[in-house]
């Protein structure tokens, strides 16, 4: 674990690392909630594996900012900088897959840019490693989107509902994050094209409706979250907070 944040290095890259680290931490937690009751044993393995990749990314990113455990377990809800998309409860498997599709496509494109970009040098090595993992996550989400979209009537309807329900949280993904040298407009265009392409192959279409309302566009990045997130943190932080100063 690294030392407490040093004001001299608590620069823009640190703000970026915090945002991306919180995204990975929170989504990892949500995916871990599936463990032991996935629809098929292979998915217990896959979802846990993705959760583990994300947890690894979170630990690396948060360690750039400060002590990973202090950041994960001792911050209040309003201090978390993750997008609201990743904190949304799992819902059914289609809802989880819709969240995975939206987020993994975003993360792959974002890390791709960071890995290539010189200005964000502090995050480039991490991004170069993570983008390879995320490519698998995206493929996993894509393969399931095809199966659920083009499977049965039930699965199609559930996938549709998952995509629609989470759509309002996708606008926030493209709000510039301080300290990340990313072409956000290009990122959004590529995201729409990629997600739209997968959905078309899955006999689905991009949802319609607003995705930039005041409560979901940029709110998570500013520390405003949704109600279920507080309960998630209560569970996640309870044991650590119950034993102040203890080592685990």
């Amino acid at each position: 674990m690294s030392a407490a944040p040093d004001p001299a290095t608590a620069d823009l890259a640190t703000a970026g690392a915090l945002a991306l680290g919180d995204d990975a931490l929170v989504l990892s937690h949500r995916l871990a909630e599936w463990t032991g009751h996935a629809p098929v044993l292979e998915e217990d393995v896959a979802l846990a594996n993705i959760a583990l990749d994300l947890l690894g990314q979170a630990r690396t990113l948060l360690s750039l900012v400060g002590d990973e455990d202090e950041l994960a377990f001792l911050r209040e809800e309003r201090a978390f900088r993750n997008v609201q998309l990743v904190e949304q409860p799992n819902g059914d498997f289609a809802h989880t897959i819709a969240r995975q599709l939206y987020f993994s496509v975003y993360q792959e494109l974002l890390y791709g840019q960071l890995a290539a970009g010189g200005e964000a040098a502090p995050l480039a090595p991490l991004a170069a490693k993570a983008v390879k993992e995320v490519a698998y996550h995206r493929d996993h989400a894509e393969q399931w989107t095809l199966r659920l979209g083009d499977g049965t009537e039930t699965s199609h309807a559930r996938m549709r509902a998952g995509l629609d329900g989470l759509w309002r949280y996708t606008g926030e993904l493209f709000r510039p994050v301080e300290g990340l040298a990313v072409d956000w407009a290009a990122l959004e265009a590529a995201w729409l094209e990629t997600v739209g392409g997968v959905l078309e192959r899955a006999t689905l279409t991009l949802p319609e409706g607003p995705r930039a309302t005041g409560w979901s566009a940029g709110a998570g990045r500013a520390g405003v979250h949704t109600e279920p997130f507080g309960r998630m943190l209560a569970e996640m932080q309870h044991l650590h907070r119950s034993h102040p100063g203890a080592s685990w």
Partner: protein, 353 residues
């Protein structure tokens, strides 16, 4: 993670649901039809067993050998997937990110072990769906140890140290089991289990040397998990009905009591290093035997848990059944998608929504 061979004694004849299925392997089925005691296939089988060679899926084997293996492998596979529950219970509350990563990897390993083992059972002609149906219907068992609850974080450590430790002692001899696919699966499983055991021990060591509250949490976990762990080796030898035949077939290599003694002898010095007390006033070194004496096991508890009256039997199987039912539409969708692709002509993704 779990052991495979508890429950032998109390369940003889109770496994009629997991009978042999020889019909799927044509060579085996043909050989089976021709085989009567003393004829060539049986002699070849006996000779392989005697020579410590592996029996492979296409080899002739006695119906009862096949049935015993299916029962044991299925029970082991079920134990892996049910065993995910008590540990997943703490995944969302792990007190540090490092511990969370370790636990997540461990539970993922268990799902992987389930996959290998169901595959091993499949080589005997019994598929995963059929075995899961039997588990869900209560016609096949899983290790009773998972019917105990994980009440504190220290239980995660106790499961690693004691439950995985006992499982390893049970399972290492299975790497030399006479049935090839099972033996090979066990080699990999045992390597991973030994990581889990060390991780659990290290977790407990940290707690035992932490704050007074953490130490107490660790001791409490050991107090609750010690005796159930000893029961994992199954009933005493003189009450273990399946053992003799399994030993003769070299599915099993050591008796229940022998393995249990080995476990106790290994744990005693480890507990001393932890600074924790094993909850058995009769536990002491016996100079003459060169082994530890230990107190009487409460087999009535074991039988009650086995009968379905343990603290978590209903919860564990209910949750498993619920997950399976909740996932039915997903599996249906995957099958429907595959069927559409198999039809082929329409091309990918062209069907109307």
């Amino acid at each position: 993670m779990p052991e495979t061979i508890i429950e032998r004694g109390s369940r003889s004849g109770a496994e009629s649901g997991s009978g042999p299925r020889t019909g799927t392997g044509a060579p085996a089925a043909a050989a089976q039809a021709a085989a009567t005691p003393g004829t060539a296939p049986e002699t070849a089988f006996e000779a392989k067993i005697a020579a410590d060679e592996r029996i492979e899926p296409r080899d002739w084997m006695p119906d009862a050998y096949r049935a015993t293996l299916v029962r044991q492998i299925a029970q082991h596979a079920h134990s892996e997937i049910i065993g995910m529950q008590p540990e997943a219970n703490w995944l969302t509350r792990a007190p540090s990110l490092r511990r969370k990563a370790i636990l997540l990897a461990k539970v993922q390993d268990e799902a992987g072990h389930g996959l290998y083992l169901y595959s091993a059972a499949e080589t005997l002609g019994t598929g995963r769906d059929e075995l899961l149906d039997k588990l869900h219907a209560g016609r096949q068992k899983y290790s009773s140890i998972f019917n105990y609850p994980t009440l504190t974080w220290a239980d995660v450590g106790a499961i690693g140290w004691l439950v995985d430790g006992a499982a390893i002692i049970n399972q290492v001899p299975l790497c030399r089991c006479s049935y090839g696919p099972y033996a090979r699966a066990m080699v990999r499983i045992c390597k991973e289990e030994s990581f889990h055991q060390r991780q659990g021990y290290e977790l407990l060591h940290t707690l035992a040397h932490g704050t007074p509250e953490q130490h107490a949490m660790a001791q409490d976990a050991i107090d609750r998990w010690w005796w159930p762990s000893l029961m994992m080796f199954g009933p005493p030898d003189d009450e273990s009905a399946h053992s003799a035949q399994s030993m003769a077939w070299k599915i099993k290599r050591h008796s229940n009591d022998e393995l249990r003694q080995r476990f106790v002898d290994i744990c005693v010095p480890q507990a001393e290093i932890l600074g924790l007390t094993l909850p058995d006033p009769d536990l002491k070194w016996n100079e003459d035997r060169g082994q530890h004496d230990f107190g009487a096991i409460d087999w009535s508890e074991f039988k009650e848990v086995l009968r379905g009256n343990g603290p978590c039997n209903e919860q564990r199987i209910g949750r498993r059944r619920q997950a399976h039912e909740d996932g039915a539409w997903v599996r249906d969708a995957a099958a429907a998608y595959a069927a559409k692709r198999a039809l082929g002509a329409a091309g990918p993704g062209e069907a109307a929504a």
